[in-house]
């Protein structure tokens, strides 16, 4: 056992109840790096089992092994309902085993009706030539009535709210289990749901688990939901099981310790933060996507990080400010002039010196089939007019200059953008946007999929750009990156500020701890129902 804390209840678990699923010594390495190492896991029948851990702790690798997507390293053993389960599981075979998945994206077809979605697997499998829709509707209505849900089976899914959709996905997964004592895997199904609706959802899951001998494995970032709704909890960190214990025996603080690991000094002395310069840009009352009434400012030369759990809204902030996605309210003051963010478009933002580096390099950052030079000079074409049209020499000189300045390898700017490595693509995208002396830089996950060398290059570029006095905002869920480059990190929860970290608090562990705790201490007025 890898457990740091031993489970106090292990001895009194009824010896006659064999685990629904037992995994022993599960290791999965990718190119020498262990995503999972010697993981042991017991899921008991009739229980909801929580699986907690940070991004990259191995949660999704474990789920993908169960789904037959990954082949574990030799030596792993597993039992399902007391019988030996051959590993690897053949892709798609989990259905026959009685394992069913609900992923974060839910996998519903929005244009189809509720009952069609519930029967999707039947339709896809096509075993029956005819489907009696009247009977299916009646069955669905009966199920909804049993759980007290007010959903019309004939409604199309795109007219349901997020909570109803999640419930449909869960009921469908349970349906697919049939009559077997199955395992329902819930892979972060609640991140976009309002707090009180997750209660409804877990009431349904508990009912399903308690009367069927079924079990549920709940993969989650949200410590609160795990504490409130699970019977047991397993914590993964860096691919290792840190503990597996009865939920009632554990406190929130212990869980944070287990998830984040060592070095968790409560540094109340964040006064070590450097004195801030004059305020360069401030956002007031921003509401966009999951974000509600969010205000913050950035000083000259300051790098501010914005982070949070998935669904907290941290991913929506920058695209909103830039005018790339719809904004409900908010204003931005830059250079002494304030303007409504709702009126902004990428064009007006660029015109006022705001640049945005998107996370998705392939679809949003650059065009793979065009050359590096064409990609990096797109925003500045009008500066290179010659007597008829563009000046090829001027564009080439600029492209080469950017390749030099931002260390894009290869230096050949006629190379297609798509042929560069992720890191060099990102350097090119940074060069594309930083070349024209921006007044505010917005970065979305700036080093996602970037190799270590390019990553530290990019960190240096960002620091030197900021040192020139330019304010930078960086939205990221990469705590190492935030700790490495940011002067200040804002943690969002439910679309609002949960915490602000500066100075000595800017370590991977403390940022992670703050994010993990962010859902436990939410002001009541933010629990608004989304429709």
């Amino acid at each position: 056992m890898n457990s740091l804390l031993s489970s106090g209840t292990e001895d009194i678990v009824d010896a006659t109840s064999t685990p629904l699923l037992r995994i022993e010594n599960l290791t999965k390495t990718f190119g020498g790096l262990a995503a999972l190492s010697s993981v042991d896991l017991d899921i008991l029948p009739g229980q909801i089992h929580g699986l907690l851990g940070e991004n990259g702790s191995g949660k999704s690798t474990l789920i993908k092994v169960l789904a037959g997507f990954y082949t574990p390293d030799p030596g792993a053993r597993a039992w399902l309902r007391g019988e030996v389960l051959e590993l690897p599981i053949a892709p798609g075979y989990f259905r026959q085993l009685g394992i069913s998945f609900v992923h974060q994206d839910l996998g519903l077809v929005p244009e189809l009706s509720v009952v069609e979605n519930l029967r999707l697997s039947t339709i896809v499998a096509g075993h029956r030539p005819l489907i009696n829709w009247a009977k299916e509707r009646a069955l669905a209505a009966e199920t909804f009535a049993r759980f007290g849900l007010d959903i019309d089976p004939r409604e199309t899914v795109d007219r349901l709210n997020n909570t109803q959709r999640a419930l449909i996905a869960i009921l469908r997964a349970v349906n697919d289990l049939g009559d077997t004592r199955g395992l329902l895997v819930l892979d972060e199904p609640t991140v976009f749901l309002p707090k009180e609706d997750t209660e409804l959802l877990f009431r349904v899951v508990k009912e399903l688990v308690s009367d069927g001998g079924m079990s549920a494995l709940l993969v989650s970032h949200d410590m609160t939901e795990v504490l409130e709704h699970t019977d047991r909890v397993t914590v993964l960190r860096a691919g290792e099981v840190q503990a597996s214990l009865a939920t009632e025996d554990v406190t929130a603080d212990q869980l944070v310790q287990l998830i984040v690991g060592r070095k968790l000094r409560p540094s109340k002395t964040a006064a070590t933060a450097a004195a801030r310069g004059a305020i360069a840009a401030s956002v007031d009352g921003l509401s966009t996507g999951q974000v509600e009434n969010f205000s913050f400012d950035v000083s000259q030369g300051e790098i501010v990080g914005i982070t949070g759990l998935a669904g907290s809204g941290f991913e929506d902030v920058l695209a909103g400010i830039y005018g790339a996605t719809p904004v409900r309210a908010g204003s931005l003051a830059l250079d002494g002039t304030a303007r409504a963010i709702a009126d902004a478009t990428p064009r007006t933002s660029i015109a006022s010196g705001i640049v945005y580096v998107p996370a998705d390099r392939k679809a949003q950052g650059g065009v793979a089939e065009l050359t590096v030079e064409q990609n990096v000079t797109l925003p500045v074409l009008t500066q290179f007019r010659s007597w008829f049209g563009l000046s090829p020499a001027g564009l080439h000189a600029r492209g080469t200059e950017i390749a030099e300045t931002y260390d894009i390898r290869p230096r050949n700017t006629d190379a297609l953008f798509g042929t560069l490595s992720g890191g060099n693509q990102q350097k090119a995208v940074l060069g594309k946007w930083l070349q024209d002396d921006p007044k505010l830089i917005l970065l979305q996950e700036p080093t996602q999929g970037v190799d270590i060398g390019a990553r530290s290059n990019i960190f240096d570029m960002l620091r030197s750009t900021a040192a020139g006095g330019v304010p930078i905002v960086c939205a990221s869920s990469d705590y190492d990156q935030l700790a490495a480059v940011c002067d200040r990190v804002i943690v969002l929860a439910h679309g609002q500020i949960h915490a602000e970290l500066t100075g000595d608090d800017l370590t991977h562990e403390l940022i992670a701890a703050s994010v993990i705790r962010s859902l436990t201490e939410v002001p009541a007025e933010t629990k608004e129902t989304l429709s």
């Binding site: 945005y356 065009v367 797109l378 074409l381 090829p392």
Partner: protein, 338 residues
């Protein structure tokens, strides 16, 4: 790529001979194919195909198709279809003929009216595609049919003849330069102009981004909607220029024959996209493709093939061209990992 090549001076580009040779072969493959077609038919038909008169016929008769195809390059580069281009051509030629021959309007105002009509058709297509967010394939399929109806209404479904002989002179009548009709030179000029616009102006570069990475274009601050509407408008305007040349070459207008240009024009665009700048719609490639296709058709007809060979040849060429350009895309995608 080794790190040694990375550290050389930026001006010295890493040269990979094998790849460059392949690239050049690819670039000029269509030109070679055209030469082979010419040489082959010249050997087979030394007295009919290999003659100055036939050369003048081949080069001098394809201006309408060439100009129409060049106009299509704008929507195609922006990632859109304009299936109404041939109908626009018909409307334009009929506008000239009806105004000039039937209603007695002087030729210059008639031509201007036809150009305005072409611009309006393009604008309406573009607005439906962009503002109402409808697939351009559907919008222009519909507008093509509407325009055909308008042509038949304008002409009472019959040919109109008697267009001002000045227009006839200016397109096919006068053959003072190299014995070629003037329309050949219009085709050359159109090719040069569109080459410059697509490759050497910010608009051409932006259209390329709109077509290849719409989200990138939007996030880079381009007015994507206006560029797309502009692409349809350019296609409408240029199709109406083709229609005016058509009216001149016929000395009138015909309510239905313009339709036969649609497929060859697309075939020329796609075939052209396999040459010169492989993988990209381009003016010179389109120019070569038009004449390659027509040389093939003329040669086959001289060998005694029936008229239907034209349909077989153009239709087949479209499919082969699209298959080839897909293969080029895949090939260049593979060479990325080198």
């Amino acid at each position: 790529m080794t790190s040694a090549t990375d550290t050389v001076a930026p001006a010295a580009r890493p040269v990979r001979p094998a790849r460059n040779l392949w690239l050049h072969t690819e670039r000029f493959a269509l030109l070679f194919a055209w030469l082979i077609v010419i040489i082959g038919f010249s050997i087979a038909l030394p007295h009919t195909f290999f003659t100055v008169g036939n050369l003048q016929n081949v080069l001098g008769s394809q201006a309408v198709l060439l100009v129409l195809a060049l106009g299509l390059l704008f929507p195609l580069t922006a990632g859109e279809f304009d299936l109404s281009a041939a109908s626009t051509l018909s409307v334009s030629s009929m506008t000239v003929a009806v105004l000039n021959a039937k209603m007695g309007v002087p030729i210059i105002p008639s031509i201007i009216a036809a150009l305005v009509v072409g611009i309006l058709i393009g604008l309406i297509n573009g607005i439906f595609v962009v503002v109402f967010k409808i697939d351009s394939f559907i919008v222009t399929l519909g507008s093509a049919t509407v325009l055909l109806g308008i042509v038949q209404w304008m002409s009472n479904s019959s040919s109109v003849t008697g267009v001002d002989s000045a227009l006839v002179q200016a397109t096919v009548g006068y053959r003072g330069i190299l014995g070629m009709p003037m329309q050949f030179f219009y085709g050359l000029i159109a090719t040069a102009v569109i080459l410059v616009v697509l490759t050497l102006t910010p608009i051409g570069r932006r259209l390329l981004f709109v077509g290849r990475g719409r989200q990138v274009a939007e996030l880079s601050g381009l007015n994507v909607g206006r560029l797309r509407i502009g692409a349809f408008t350019a296609s409408g305007l240029i199709a109406s220029v083709a229609g005016i040349i058509y009216a001149g070459s016929l000395g009138g207008a015909d309510p239905s024959s313009g339709q036969s240009f649609l497929l060859p024009a697309f075939a020329a665009c796609y075939l052209g996209a396999t040459a010169i700048v492989p993988g990209r719609f381009n003016a010179i490639g389109t120019f070569i493709a038009v004449f390659f296709l027509f040389s093939g058709v003329v040669g086959l007809q001289m060998l005694g093939a029936q008229n239907y060979v034209q349909q077989l040849f153009y239709g087949g060429a479209l499919i082969v061209a699209v298959a080839l350009s897909q293969a080029i895309r895949r090939q260049s995608a593979r060479s990325k990992i080198s």
